[in-house]
Symmetry: C3
Subunit: 154 residues, 3 copies
C-alpha cells in the first residue's frame, strides 16, 4: 500500500506546503538526504493554536499539533519528490516544544508526529529523535519540528 | 563575481575565525558536507553584545548580531576551504535565539544571517532553516547559529 | 590501543544502551553517518539526577552528567556497530542544557561529554559542537545530547 493510500485511509488530506517565515527555503536535497526547514503546526498560514505547553496547551493538544506538523512535513516532501514512495525513510526529527520550565512531557507531545510517520510510511517512518523544551518559538508556536528524510536513490 | 568580491562590495572584511569555547573543533568535513560548531556574534573573542532578545536587545539589534554571526561562519569556511567559491551552497542553519518567553521574533532576527548569506553567495546562499527561542546561551550570548555547508566535489 | 581498552583503563563499563522514551529508535545509519537519538544521563532507566543547571545542579555535577551521557552514547554505538573501532570519528554534538535563564556555563557542562570522547576515541573523538540552554527537557533531565558519528566504510 502506498503512503498516499494510507493517508487516505487515515482521512488525511495533505495541505499545501506551508510558506517560509523568512529568507530561507522549505526543503533542500543533498545526496540522498532531504533537509526540511523547521515545521510549525499551521494550516492556511495560521497556527492551529498558539501558546505554550503547560500554559494553556495540554499534552493531548500538543500531541495533535505535533501530528499536524508531521502532516505538513509530508506535504513538503510530496511537493518536492512528487510521491511519498520516493522516501526511503524518515531519518531524524528534532522537536522543539515551547513550554513553561516545569513541563517535562516533550516526548509524549512529539509522539504525535512520530506515530503519524509510522502510520503513513510503515517501517520507513521509524526515525531517531531528540525532544527539547524551549522558551519560545516564532509566531508563539507551541512547537516546531525539524525533519531529515532519506530518499530512494535515483 | 566571487563571494570574496561581493564581501568587499558590502564593505565586509572577514575576521579571524572565532576560537572554540571548549573541547571541540570549529569545523569538520565529511563527504561533501562541512559541519560548523555553533557560531556566536563575537569579535576578537568578545561578544559584540550580551543579553537576551526582549530584555535589552531588540529585533533590529538581533538582526545585526545574526548577520555578524554569519560573517564569522564565512570566516570559518574560508579558513577551512581557502576560498568561498568552493562552497556549493549553504545547506542549513539552526538558529538559537536567547530570549524572554514572550519574544516571538526569532525568524526576523535570523534573517540577518540568512540575507547576508544570499548577498554573499547568491543562490548558493539559499538554505533551509529552523529558528528557536532558548532560555540561555554560553557567555550570555543573544544568539548562536549552527551551519551546514555543502562543498564543491574535489 | 582500542577504544574498549581505553574505557577499561578509565574504569568505565558500558551500560546497556538506554531505551527510547517514545515512538522512535535509538540509532540509524545512512551512508557513513550514524545518527543517535537524544541521549539523557540515565542509568538503568532512571536519571542519575533530575533538575536544572543553576537550580540545584551546579556546573561540576553537570560536567559529570554530560560525561555519563557520552558513555551512554558509546554504549549505543557499540551495540550497533559491535566494536568502537568501527567509528571513524565523532562528527557532531548538539548539547541541550536545561537551565535557569541566568545560567551561561553550557560549554563547561558539555565539556564533560567532549573530553570523554577524546579520552576514549583519541583524535577520532574531536567533533564540532553546539551548546544551548533550554527551558526544560523530558523527565526533567538536566541535559540531553544529540550525537552524529562517522563510521569506517565497510
Amino acid at each position: 500500500m502506498t503512503p498516499e493510500k494510507r493517508l487516505e485511509e487515515l482521512g488525511i488530506e495533505l495541505p499545501p506546503p506551508p510558506a517560509p517565515l523568512g529568507a530561507y527555503v522549505p526543503v533542500l536535497k543533498t545526496g540522498n538526504l532531504l533537509f526540511l526547514s523547521g515545521i510549525l503546526p499551521v494550516r492556511e498560514g495560521r497556527l492551529i493554536k498558539a501558546g505554550k505547553l503547560g500554559a494553556g496547551i495540554d499534552e493531548q493538544e500538543g500531541f495533535m499539533l505535533a501530528r499536524a506538523a508531521a502532516v505538513n512535513a509530508l506535504a513538503v516532501v510530496k511537493g518536492h519528490l512528487g510521491e511519498l514512495g520516493s522516501v526511503k525513510r524518515c531519518l531524524k526529527l528534532t522537536g522543539y516544544v515551547a513550554c513553561v520550565p516545569g513541563f517535562t512531557g516533550q516526548a509524549a507531545v512529539l509522539n504525535g508526529a512520530s506515530e503519524l510517520l509510522v502510520q503513513v510510511l510503515g517501517d520507513a517512518g521509524r526515525h531517531v529523535r531528540a525532544a527539547v523544551g524551549v522558551a519560545a518559538l516564532p509566531m508563539d508556536s507551541p512547537l516546531e519540528i525539524e525533519f531529515i528524510f532519506e530518499v530512494v536513490q535515483s
